[in-house]
Symmetry: C2
Subunit: 254 residues, 2 copies
């Protein structure tokens, strides 16, 4: 399995990500093959969609000011987080843990890194539709069957640092169903699902960096992943199915 | 960056993992280079250490029988989980969420997959010392400076399926400290740490599989990771630093 980082120009609102990708691949002399997967950082997808907020145009509400004081945040950022989040669950110094679209996300994805000066970048809108659209465009242009993953970052309880996770996938089965598979000794596996799309984003993030590397896309070649137009598995768990959610409850923060 | 899966014979108690690795690399015609990293599945490390339990020799306690009934488990497995875990936090059908050595682990790492018939495999003992020892032996034998990671699996709240995480690392900085780095626009990064060793294990797990693939080791070449004999960062967070732990509390399960 091989991974190649793809350098792009700085992405601007209105840019067509599929076109940017094809141009960047050409510049890198990378010729797409059937079965290639491209991971795209969520921040460039969001920027291309104009999902940016200019900080000096934000008027923090009283709730945002209170949150900002409690968790040591810019009140303008806290205001945008309140707007973006489905629920603010609490936080630690400098960051809020929120729920958004059924997942736990730091600061509801509001990120001041790699956004233009005085702006923050939000999470992409309609990530699934966007991934499908990029795949379609790139396949039409190149004639190759590929997979597209929009990648994001998450943290694991009690672990330091962010890892890669998939926000949306197109063309691949994001979760490998291991039920019915057998181990070396012919016994049924205990692990029932593998979050293979998340693993792929984590792999890509090794090459992406978070700083000024300007490689918001990574090409993965030779990954033993099932290609499909109709994925069978959801990446998301309901709280009832989730081991953590069955064990923990929210503290009363207010 | 390139990844190569390394097939090995079935590992038995008493096997020397460093020797197994060197033999397997030779068979695959992979010649180690300075800067290579090898991820080893925790199950083969544990097996080589004899960290196996024979199920028919286990006598479940009353507590284990009660747990097994509540969460639909084999009482013998529940008994071993109780012995291995620092704390059983609760669970869902078929699996207990436990704390072990400061981390959240499903079933305290007790796994019936890929253990010999009628046995379960536990987590390795002294993973840090073991990783150091394997690195030292392989470097002595090959003369190359390498990194070793013992890999394991974890789940993220509200996400389906397991991803790769690092249990111990030797020779590399497991967590990249991004404080002070700047983004594309010269602004300080919001992400402060990257769990790069976890990302590497996730990448390796794409090639490892969980079933009968028999590739419990993966070689990673060309990863832009800092090599060091004295890592500056811990992979573990204290509950006070953890976003989740500041937001959630344990339900009363008893």
């Amino acid at each position: 399995m091989s991974l190649y980082s793809i350098n792009t120009p700085i992405i601007r609102p209105g840019d067509n990500i599929a076109k940017v990708m094809i141009n960047a691949l050409e510049k890198e002399k990378l010729h797409l093959k059937d079965g290639d997967i491209i991971v795209i950082a969520e921040s460039v997808v969001a920027t291309s969609q104009g999902r940016l907020e200019k900080l000096d145009q934000v008027n923090p509400s009283e709730g945002a000011i209170r949150l900002a004081k409690e968790y040591d945040l810019d009140p303008k950022i806290a205001e945008i987080v309140l707007r973006e989040a489905n629920e603010v669950c609490g936080g630690v110094k400098g960051v809020l843990l929120t729920q958004k679209d059924g997942l736990f996300v730091a600061n509801a994805g509001v990120d001041s890194s790699n956004a233009p000066k005085d702006y923050v970048v939000l999470l992409p809108k309609e990530p699934q539709k966007t991934a499908d659209g990029i795949k379609k465009q790139v396949e039409k242009k190149t004639g190759k069957k590929i997979g597209i993953i929009i990648g994001d970052s998450r943290v694991i309880p009690l672990k330091r640092g962010v890892i890669g996770v998939a926000l949306a996938t197109a063309g691949i089965e994001p979760v490998e169903d291991c039920r019915g598979m057998v181990d070396l000794f012919g016994r049924k596996l205990q692990v029932t699902f593998r979050a293979i799309a998340d693993d792929v984003v984590s792999a890509a993030q090794i090459l992406m960096g978070e700083a000024d590397e300007q490689s918001p896309m990574v090409l993965i070649r030779g990954a033993p992943i099932k290609f499909t137009e109709e994925p069978q598995q959801e990446m998301q768990l309901s709280p009832e199915e989730c081991m953590y959610m069955n064990v923990f409850q929210l503290r009363h923060t207010n």
